[in-house]
């Protein structure tokens, strides 16, 4: 539960604070007023990364140019994240944490739901890998470090493969790192998809109230235990292409509706439902893994686009007692009596309590 949030020089916000006391909240405002940035700041505070693509540097407000600060009272601890001059300063309850993993280990879990989620279904594999990575790094202690090392080693290896002649002794040194970290990713992703699958199917049928079955399947380029051999076999092809062509960075998460690929065969409505089902599955899985601290749900501007039935089905399926923060441009869909919440107006980087008109 997020009790309070403090922002300084984050995106369009100067000095802002928000007292939620762990309650649900709705943020109303026109476009480009800062609604999404509030949710984004919470995601950055808790996970140190943004659901929107982009670097931390871009999140510094134009006025400041120096850096930003996000603080928040999560559950029973105060988390602070300061960023400036390419330096990150993390602290929990006032004591500085040097290692990112220490900080993330004491932070909270996050589910982000937004309009971009449709890309999970009809976009490129990269988005689906990022979906797995975002959950994986929240539930497995070794996931994020393996991912970062794997990515860095892949970049270095690709860089070496572009040399002529290829310096194989160096490439092979990186191949060993790719295997070491890549096998961790393969094992964890396999485990993760198995955990998610029943929730995806369940959420899909609750949302669509139909008999069709949504299913997900992990399709790695090289399966667990075979990465070393696959990399060995693709040496020549790698050298020709100047890049590493097998490994977890090419994995796919197959999405199917009744056995047909959702991205090509699903109607727009089915695809939207599937995208929601993936995020609901994430929410339920995170809630199930940590009963004491439910994930916070950051729901960005999707309620207006759903019909009443789906909206209610969605609200009903969210894990109980998890805190929901919702942005919207208009409140006329407000069957908000379903959620007891505070309502805020967001205008030009200013937050105020909503005045009923």
């Amino acid at each position: 539960m997020l009790h309070s949030l403090q922002l300084r020089d984050f995106r369009c916000f100067g000095q802002t604070s928000l007292h939620l006391d762990g309650k649900d909240a709705v943020f109303i405002g026109q476009n480009a007023q800062g609604k999404t940035s509030i949710l984004e700041s919470i995601c950055v505070l808790l996970r140190l990364q943004s659901p929107r693509a982009g670097t931390l540097r871009e999140m510094v407000s134009f006025e400041s140019n120096e850096g930003f600060f996000i603080g928040g009272n999560w559950s029973d601890r105060q988390l602070n994240f300061g960023y400036g001059r390419r330096l990150k300063k993390l602290s929990v309850d006032g004591s500085t944490t040097r290692k990112t993993s220490d900080y993330l280990g004491r932070s909270g879990h996050v589910v982000w739901m937004g309009n971009g989620d449709l890309q999970l279904i009809n976009g490129r594999g990269e988005g689906r890998r990022r979906y797995l990575d975002f959950i994986g790094s929240q539930i497995f202690p070794d996931y994020l470090s393996a991912l970062r090392c794997y990515e860095r080693a892949t970049r270095a290896r690709n860089n070496l493969l572009k040399n002529m002649p290829v310096p194989w002794a160096q490439v092979d040194a990186y191949t060993l790192l790719l295997v070491q970290h890549g096998e961790v990713l393969l094992r964890r992703r396999t485990e993760l998809v198995t955990l998610l699958q029943p929730w995806v199917a369940d959420a899909g049928s609750s949302l669509s109230r139909s008999t069709e079955t949504a299913s997900i399947a992990y399709q790695p380029k090289a399966v667990l235990g075979t990465l070393a051999r696959a990399l060995e076999e693709s040496r020549e092809a790698d050298a020709r292409r100047g890049q590493t062509i097998v490994g977890p960075h090419r994995d796919e998460l197959a999405l199917e509706i009744d056995g047909h690929p959702a991205g090509t065969f699903g109607s727009e409505g089915q695809q939207r439902t599937f995208a929601l089902a993936l995020k609901l599955a994430q929410a339920r899985l995170l809630a199930e893994r940590d009963d004491a601290e439910k994930p916070i749900l950051l729901i960005d501007d999707i309620f207006g686009e759903l019909d009443v039935t789906r909206r209610n089905a969605l609200l009903a399926y969210l894990p109980e007692d998890s805190q929901k923060l919702i942005t919207t441009t208009h409140l006329d869909w407000a069957e908000m009596e379903r959620i007891e919440c505070d309502i805020y107006d967001v205008k030009a980087g200013q937050l105020s309590r909503h005045q009923a008109s």
Partner: protein
């Protein structure tokens, strides 16, 4: 109106100081002004110390550690040290912490960095061929790789292990990873514990 600026020698001093590691433009300016004012005598002493260190200090051709010009290396020429074990480190400064443990009595070899294709550091930029010839020349039975545990450090370790793999009777080892000494489990983060669990060993 003419723009007022520092005279040329001061500007040169500031730009020189600015190029030092960890010194920004504002600190450089402050130090320069201090050197010309209150810190005058100290500045002279520092200038002299820099010249003496530049002229009087050399690197050992063998291990890469600092030594006084014309003098034998206190590490490599010590007859008490075991010549059949070489501990490979990234920087000469990494030798001191290992030496302070008092547990290692072999020889050292500082590479002068680690491989990093992304920063354009290749094997030719490091003291790798001197290491190979040292291992060939002496009867070395163990090479200990005491490199960093980040991606570049590990890649360098794998690269060196690959080179020495073929050599008969030579054992290549690396430092263990795991729990900090003297700490309870509750102080270790999950990742450290996981590594420690992976690297567990049998008892008795």
């Amino acid at each position: 109106m003419p723009r007022i600026a520092y005279p040329e020698p001061i500007l040169r001093l500031i730009s020189g100081l600015k190029s030092l590691p960890g010194v920004g433009p504002r600190s450089a300016e402050r130090i320069a002004v201090w050197m010309l004012g209150g810190g005058k005598e100290k500045a002279d002493a520092i200038a002299q110390a820099i010249t003496e260190a530049r002229e009087g200090i050399a690197r050992c051709e063998e291990c890469g550690f600092f030594l006084l010009q014309e003098n034998p290396c206190p590490l490599c020429s010590d007859p008490e040290r075991q010549g059949d074990t070489i501990c490979v480190v990234e920087q000469p400064t990494d030798i001191l912490p290992i030496e302070r443990t008092g547990a290692f009595t072999g020889l050292y070899h500082a590479l002068g960095g680690r491989l990093s294709p992304l920063d354009n550091v290749t094997p030719q930029d490091l003291r790798i061929s001197p290491l190979i010839s040292r291992v060939q020349k002496r009867r070395v039975s163990e090479v200990i790789l005491a490199l960093g545990s980040d991606v570049e450090g590990e890649a360098t370790a794998h690269y060196l292990a690959g080179i020495f793999r073929e050599k008969e009777g030579l054992q290549v080892t690396r430092l263990a990873q795991g729990l900090p000494a003297g700490g309870g489990l509750e102080h270790a983060d999950e990742l450290t514990l996981l590594r420690a669990l992976d690297g567990r060993r049998g008892m008795g």
